[in-house]
């Protein structure tokens, strides 16, 4: 081709390529790390505040919480790292155990639902419930978040254990709206059957996993020293 084209750039040298890629890489890394460090504290505060607000909403008696994690063979220990599904022991102002708060998740109608529920050692029941994350159908499935008659289920949802303390005595199950007869049943929402059943399944699975372990370890965690720094 002899047609004079636009001014040809000289072929790029390897040096200028390296210089560019490494230079850009370094600048980007600097930017990302700087922003991360600057905002890390604030973000952690925000997350703690969000969780604390949720916890005090469903377990008002708790003044302080301690994150716990299962460590095999049904033992419970204080958690060192933050987990995606945190579980807490709640203590009142005198350092006495008032309940536990468990995060659970499962598949709903549309997408994953994440919930928080409060477990009472005294009543052997779920006494508080809050939806953390849900993408259920607006106007139907999202009624689980606010509808009074559904939330009334959680004043004392029975979670008694079998005599050997290994599982729930009566599985938590969702029933049609208005047909709740037993304390371990969840009164569903008409028109949002699948979402209501999903909540029942999520709570059942989670309580089966956690209630036995929480009960078995409740003595070990019964009293918490309130340290002076708080």
């Amino acid at each position: 081709m002899n047609i004079p084209g636009p001014i040809q750039q000289p072929p790029t040298s390897a040096w200028s390529m390296y210089r560019a890629i490494v230079g850009i890489g370094a600048m980007c890394a600097l930017l990302i790390v700087t922003v991360y460090q600057t905002t890390a504290d604030r973000i952690r505060e925000n997350q703690e505040r969000f969780l604390a607000a949720a916890v005090s909403q469903i377990l008002p008696a708790a003044q302080t919480t301690v994150a716990v994690v299962q460590t095999g063979a049904g033992r419970l220990e204080e958690a060192v790292e933050t987990s995606a599904l945190p579980v807490f022991m709640g203590y009142d102002a005198d350092g006495e155990l008032v309940g536990a708060v468990v995060t659970a998740q499962g598949m709903g109608y549309q997408d994953n639902i994440r919930v928080l529920y409060a477990y009472s050692f005294e009543l052997d029941a779920i006494v508080g419930f809050k939806v953390l994350d849900s993408k259920e159908t607006p106007g139907l499935g999202d009624k689980i978040e606010k509808e009074p008659h559904f939330l009334a289920n959680f004043e004392a949802l029975d979670a008694t254990l079998t005599p050997d303390g290994d599982a729930l005595l009566h599985p938590i199950v969702t029933v049609k709206q208005g047909q709740k007869l037993q304390p371990w049943q969840l009164d569903g929402i008409t028109g949002a059957t699948i979402t209501s059943e999903a909540i029942g399944n999520i709570l059942n699975d989670s309580a089966n996993t956690w209630a036995p372990v929480l009960e078995k370890n409740s003595h070990a965690f019964a009293i918490r020293e309130i340290s002076e720094e708080q």
């Binding site: 560019a20 890629i21 850009i24 922003v35």
Partner: protein
């Protein structure tokens, strides 16, 4: 770009209507439909995108003589991804609730074809000043387009605007509007309106041209 000298104000204004990224260039559709189910989400997404657009346009323009031709796409993507990561953390620092409702879509700003497109088509070839104006214009145009869609979807789908209820409880909300289908329909509606307006302007201009002897 060869041809007539584009005035500096025009660099900004063109992004608002004539070359509006969503309705004319049809770029950046993913976030436009995904996060526009309420007005506040649309506004936040638009502002976040404008910020990334502005910062990456400034960076690309400032470094344009430094970046060789072969490495440009990789460089642009690195720069854009860094600013998106920054915006992600900034929004989390401002409000966890906002960060949750926008979800993964903040991270998806990095693949918004609008930002890469502007970096490639404009910022890499123009001065810092003009690039800033172009980025601002496109960003504002994008935000406004998102807001149009968001406002319609929120009013019809939730009966509210920016969270403030507009109608009495008896209003039957068109829930479909806050669902994905509604996004498609709302966008189609605005696109039709924009096309119709453009056609009318073009016809009026043509008639005016034919009228003058």
């Amino acid at each position: 770009m060869l041809g007539k000298e584009v005035s500096t104000t025009d660099e900004f204004v063109k992004g608002l209507w004539r070359e509006n990224p969503v309705f004319i260039q049809v770029l950046g559709l993913c976030p436009a439909l995904a996060v526009s189910n309420t007005a506040i989400n649309a506004l936040t997404m638009g502002l976040a995108t404008t910020f990334v657009l502005l910062m990456s346009a400034m960076s690309v323009s400032a470094l344009r003589s430094f970046i060789p031709r072969e490495a440009r796409i990789v460089s642009f993507i690195c720069i854009i991804a860094s600013f998106v990561t920054a915006v992600d953390y900034l929004i989390q620092a401002i409000s966890i609730e906002l960060s949750r409702s926008l979800g993964a879509f903040i991270a998806l700003i990095v693949v918004n074809c609008l930002i890469l497109g502007r970096a490639e088509a404009f910022a890499s070839k123009n001065t810092l000043g003009r690039s800033v104006l172009d980025a601002l214009g496109m960003g504002v145009g994008f935000t406004v387009a998102l807001l149009w869609i968001g406002v319609v979807r929120e009013i019809l789908g939730s009966g509210s605007l920016f969270g403030v209820a507009l109608f009495p409880d008896t209003f039957q909300t068109w829930t479909i509007m806050v669902l994905p289908s509604g996004g498609f329909f709302a966008m189609a509606m605005w696109l039709l309106l924009v096309n119709w307006l453009n056609e009318r302007t073009a016809e009026a201009e043509k008639r005016a041209q034919e009228a003058t002897p």
